[in-house]
Amino acid sequence: MASKRLFDKIDSIQLLSVTKKYDDRFAINDISIDIEGGELVIFIGPSGSGKTTTLRMINRLIEPDSGTILINDQNVMELEPVALRRNIGYVIQNIGLFPHMNIAENIGLVAKLEGWDEKKIKDRVEYLLDFVSLPSEMFMDRYPHQLSGGQQQRVGLARALMMDPPLLLMDEPFGALDPILRKQLQEEFYQIREKLGKTIIFVTHDIEEAFKLGDRIAIMDDAKLVQIGTAEELIFHPANEMVASIVDTSKKFKHLDTLKIKDLISPLECMYVHDGSLDVEGAISSMIEKNIEIAVVSNGSGPLGIVKLIDLLRMDDKESKIVDHVIEIPSFSRNELLSSSLKIMQKDGHSMAFVMTDGKLSGFLFPNDAFSQVIG
């Protein structure tokens, strides 16, 4: 009972005067948008502004009262909902992994329903797990509750990619993660996005995430589309006060060269610190339990560097000490100038640095994050 492949590639998605009402209240009020194939469009706005409703109309989880939604000039209302949804990848904030299925079954469910043979499913699942940086041999047979939040969200993405849909709908996919993990997943997603080559519609409430990932950003307020454009257009030509406050235009006047590291520090939580004498096995279980993707390795007197969970998982020698696998990263005092530290980091290609206060580790500096705060 394989569903028809409705589209191999997205040429365009059009919303034409789409309106949806619940009782007397508009959920979506006369929205028209043109989305090009291959674009990553981000919907952002206060809660209740209609961004999720708009997303869910594209795969017909919600049906419009009036107006038309076209994918490649086909009206979605004329497509069979089950077939339509199987042609569109779907990622949600709560992930929605099925607790009674292991990771391979979760990812392969729709393929199984589509009648793929087992070998083909297994190969594809293995490929996708590796693609989202989860070693397949370690994760295929695990159950969702054995995974950290970040790992579950990676599985959520792998699952959405199973049928190789040309279109992905992502509803606050990183919204439930803690800030440091969120940044790392955004970074990874940003990197694999090119490889994916898919049209993506993405909902978030985090303007920094929008600036970082979006080709264009659609700002919603009170069921209406207020403005859609690139980050630059929104920052330099905000349509109204509301847009200006969301993109926080005043920030663009902040002068980078007066900012100090302490203005943009991401504070340290002690759960990140692990002693260098810990073995790899112990570090993995500790990090999975604490739901963190990176750990600071310390030797008692100060931080030596970091280790990443992904790297540890791939190590053959699980008995070795993590101190032997440390990735050194720069460290700066909190009163140093941001601009000079960023230059140093850029030169050596580091994506994070330690921030020290009185010789002690007090936080992290993420250049990407710092940069988007400054321009945002």
Binding site: S3, R56, L84, Y90, G96, H100, V110, L113, H145
Partner: protein, 203 residues
């Protein structure tokens, strides 16, 4: 003096009664619970009726069927059924309907149809509750099957009532101990089946 033969034959009668009643009650409860899931009004009537039947004291249920159906094996089955339906219906219904909404939303969003959602999401989610309901129903069936000896169902209750009338402790125990053993054995067997069917996905 109670002969071993008499204990065995009463135990066999008792087992036949409880097992048949359990099977019938599962066969009746499941469709009612599934139906309740897809039709709110139907569900309302079913749960109300099951609650009502549950509110009547056990002995009264046994007594009520006599003017309607007379005495014997089948009236006893009906009397026990009335008490055993509720835990299975209610637990099955609750198990099927209390699924994490984000999972249902997701199942919808990836294009599962109603039947596939039931098969792959709701039913596995409901297994633990369904099993708990069936176990509890069996405890009720086993104990009410003792009472129905009063209306001629036969079984271990017969020994107990005879013993009570004759102040014969030996007879009372000859009826009570196998009944207790049956309850324990069922619990062990069913827990095994449950473990087989619901693998280690819960912490």
């Amino acid at each position: 003096m109670v002969t071993l033969e008499s204990i065995l034959s009463h135990t066999a009668d008792h087992l036949v009664l409880v097992v048949i009643t359990l099977i019938i009650s599962i066969c009746i409860s499941m469709p009612l619970a599934f139906g309740s899931l897809y039709n709110k009004r139907f569900g309302y009537v079913v749960i109300k009726f099951a609650n009502l039947a549950q509110a009547v004291p056990s002995f009264a249920v046994v007594a009520i069927v006599v003017p309607l159906m007379g005495i014997g094996f089948y009236p006893a089955v009906v009397a026990i059924l009335l008490r055993a339906l509720l835990p299975i219906i209610k637990n099955t219904y609750i198990g099927l309907s209390t699924v994490d909404p984000s999972m249902l939303d997701y199942a919808d969003g990836i294009g599962l149809n109603e039947w596939q959602i039931l098969r792959y999401v709701r039913l596995p989610n409901a297994y633990p509750a369904i099993f708990a309901g069936i176990k509890f129903a069996f405890i009720l069936i086993n104990s009410i099957a003792i009472l129905t000896a009063y209306i001629g169902s036969g079984g271990l209750g017969e020994l107990i009532f005879q013993g009570l009338v004759a102040f014969n402790n030996e007879k009372i125990l000859a009826g009570a101990i196998p009944a207790i053993l049956i309850a324990i054995a069922f619990d062990i067997i069913f827990t095994r089946i449950e473990k087989k069917l619901t693998p280690h996905y819960r912490k």
